[in-house]
């Protein structure tokens, strides 16, 4: 029992009971030992719905402590409803400091983005994963895909990407773009835009991926090679925009597109709200 239990009745620190945390911690260590391999774990029912980040929340709950500073983003932004909801949950059950600043955070839980600000050693990036199996849309059966991973038999993925080239002249996959981890396992990077894939490669931060409904945890240790799948004559490339961010002028960041009037006028702004604010801060201070 901690002092927190007075606030929320019978719940343990960070919500999960200690036995569950140990189970998740063991799964995380095995995930780190076999980069890109999906470790099955006894995922618990969380007080938030499946599909809304229960895997990421369980991973965060198993690692977080009172010394941590937590950042939560959804679509790159700290103030989207689900990010707010998850941040409130941890502030309440884990008495943890929260921040919106990427470089201040020790643990960053994310849905669909990797922050624009480069991560550093010691930081942990926790991804919320809906479908952890990169081959799932090509082969719906878990029994089959498990065998394909065991045999490192990834022809089905190559064929799928090749068909895309044959049909469209290029690989049309835009997000959740499959990667090869350390030359052994094909991995789903979660539904981040392919724009973010290069940030996963040899990142100094530890990447942990949690899929609650599918009950899988996987990891990419720091400095591990993460290669986006491609072909020699069709190399991997990321999205680009003709526009720059309307607010901060960035030409390097991933942009959200907004429709601002009935005539369909478009406006482009950074998806990473912290990055955008920090770039604007000096200019606004000078005004």
């Amino acid at each position: 029992m901690t002092e927190n239990s007075a606030k929320d009745g019978a719940y343990n620190y960070a919500y999960l009971d200690e036995q569950t945390k140990r189970m998740i911690r063991r799964a995380i260590l095995k995930a780190v030992a076999v980069p890109g391999y999906q470790v099955p774990f006894g995922g618990r029912e969380m007080p938030l719905p499946y599909g809304w980040g229960t895997g990421g929340i369980q991973v965060t709950a198993a690692i977080i402590g009172r010394d941590d500073t937590l950042k939560v983003i959804d679509q790159g932004a700290d103030d989207t409803t689900n990010a707010v909801s998850i941040r409130r949950f941890f502030a309440r059950v884990a008495e943890v400091a929260t921040t919106t600043r990427t470089e201040e955070a020790t643990v960053i839980q994310t849905r669909h983005r990797v922050p624009e600000t480069p991560l550093s050693e010691g930081q942990i990036l926790v991804f919320q994963v809906p479908i952890p199996e990169p081959l799932r849309m090509l082969e719906p059966r878990e029994t089959e895909t498990r065998t394909l991973h065991a045999l490192s038999e990834y022809g089905v993925m190559q064929v799928s990407l090749y068909e895309s080239i044959a049909r469209h002249g290029r690989i049309s996959k835009a997000y959740n773009y499959p990667v090869m981890v350390n030359g052994r396992y094909i991995m789903s990077p979660s539904p981040i835009p392919k724009f973010d894939n290069p940030k996963l490669d040899r990142s100094p931060a530890l990447q942990l991926y949690g899929a609650g409904r599918e009950k899988r945890i996987y990891a990419v240790p720091p400095y591990t090679p993460v290669k986006s799948l491609d072909f020699d004559d069709h190399p991997f490339e990321i999205e680009t925009w003709e526009q720059c961010c309307e607010l901060c002028g960035s030409k390097e960041s991933f942009l959200d597109e907004m429709i601002v009037d009935d005539d369909g006028k478009r406006l482009f702004v950074c998806s990473d709200s912290d990055y955008c604010e920090r770039r604007r801060a000096p200019a606004e201070a000078a005004e």
Binding site: D17, G51, R111, F254
Partner: protein, 365 residues
């Protein structure tokens, strides 16, 4: 600027207030008590306990009240509470032959030891709206025969089994707990049954129904359905012997299915089994049909239908998982959508450029 899903902190706070307000409804109408839900919406409580995997009538009633009658939401609430409870161990298997039955029917024999007991059932009600219920009314207590609690109620299946007509219960293998360990496939039958017991009633009903329409190879008879109270026993490690810790209501269904037999095995009937908390016959029967369908491989039948496909059934039966994942589509996906927009625009531009080039080439010829 369009920031509908941003600035969420205040929006969420207001949304929570609104949902609490909606739940209470018109303040001039008396508030529902948990006792009213338990007593007067008892079948809803039974379903929430069954699929919530937690036998506690008042907690289930609370969940139903909090969820404004949305039973899947109530199941979710009860599950999320259950998962935080400590585990003391496993109870002994229920002995349903010790049931004090309020209802017990067999469709395979006109009479069976212990008799047919129709009990409370909607089966023979005429589905005419009873307008007298629109006003509160005193109802006389229904007459009941005194229950003989000392007498065991032999199962019809056991009687058939003694004769060799029905297979013995399948050898089950080790039981695991799906709520503590991830599902691995192929699953043992106890794991399958646990999955089905927690599974969505509507999903199992549709699958069970499909087996009756030719998608599967079931030829089922209701060997027996019984509903009533059974004692739950537990062996505390420090005592070393069983003590009775509770009495619960369950519905049990033993489905008897035809089996052709083979060269070496004489024809014999096979089993499908269903068990649900409270009075949940539709659920127990559907479960028994699907259980039997999932035994296709074990019984060397060809498995070609959805209800016989273990991975398909077990992976999609859970309504808390399904509801969450379907509804998560409400969350913002605009980063991924933006990625797709960029790709589709690029592809469209390329197609357009090729078309223009073709027109130019044609004009030049």
């Amino acid at each position: 600027m369009y920031v509908a899903v941003k600035g969420g902190e205040t929006a969420i706070a207001h949304s929570l207030d609104l949902v609490a307000d909606k739940r209470r409804g018109d303040r001039d109408i008396a508030e529902l008590s948990l006792e009213q839900i338990d007593q007067q919406l008892g079948l809803a409580v039974d379903r929430v306990m069954t699929e919530g995997s937690c036998y506690d009538r008042s907690l289930a009633a609370l969940a139903i009240k909090q969820a404004r009658g949305d039973l899947i939401e109530a199941i979710f609430l009860l599950r999320a509470y259950r998962t935080t409870l400590p585990r003391f161990g496993d109870s002994l298997p229920l002995d349903t032959s010790a049931m004090v039955a309020e209802r017990r029917i067999s469709s395979t024999f006109k009479d069976v030891p212990g008799g047919q007991v129709l009990g409370p059932t909607y089966d023979y009600t005429h589905r005419l709206l009873d307008f007298s219920l629109m006003a509160a009314d005193e109802r006389p207590t229904a007459p009941t025969a005194p229950a003989d609690t000392n007498r065991t109620l032999p199962r019809v299946g056991d009687i058939l089994e003694r004769e060799g007509m029905l297979e013995p219960p399948p050898q089950d293998g080790a039981s695991e707990d799906l709520t503590r360990q991830p599902l691995t496939l192929p699953a043992s039958r106890p794991v399958r049954l646990q999955n089905l017991a927690r599974g969505d009633e509507g999903f199992l009903l549709a699958l069970g129904y499909s087996t009756q329409r030719g998608y599967g190879n079931n030829h089922p008879f209701v060997g027996e359905i019984r509903y009533g109270h059974v004692p739950v026993s537990f062996v505390p490690e420090e005592l070393g012997f069983a003590i009775e810790i509770a009495e619960i209501d369950v519905t049990e269904c033993d489905m008897v299915n035809q089996f052709a037999g083979s060269h070496d095995v004489p024809p014999q009937f096979t089993r499908g089994y269903g068990l649900a908390f409270g009075h949940s016959e539709r659920k127990a029967m559907s479960m028994a049909l699907v259980d039997r369908a999932l035994r296709a491989e074990e019984l060397s039948e060809s498995a070609t239908s959805p209800a016989q496909d273990e991975e398909f059934v077990l992976a999609h039966s859970d309504n808390v998982e399904a509801s969450g994942f379907v509804q998560h589509l409400k969350l913002p996906h605009y980063v991924d959508f933006q990625s797709e927009l960029v790709v589709v625009r690029t592809l469209r531009a390329e197609v357009e450029a090729r078309r223009r080039q073709a027109v130019l080439d044609q004009a030049a010829e």
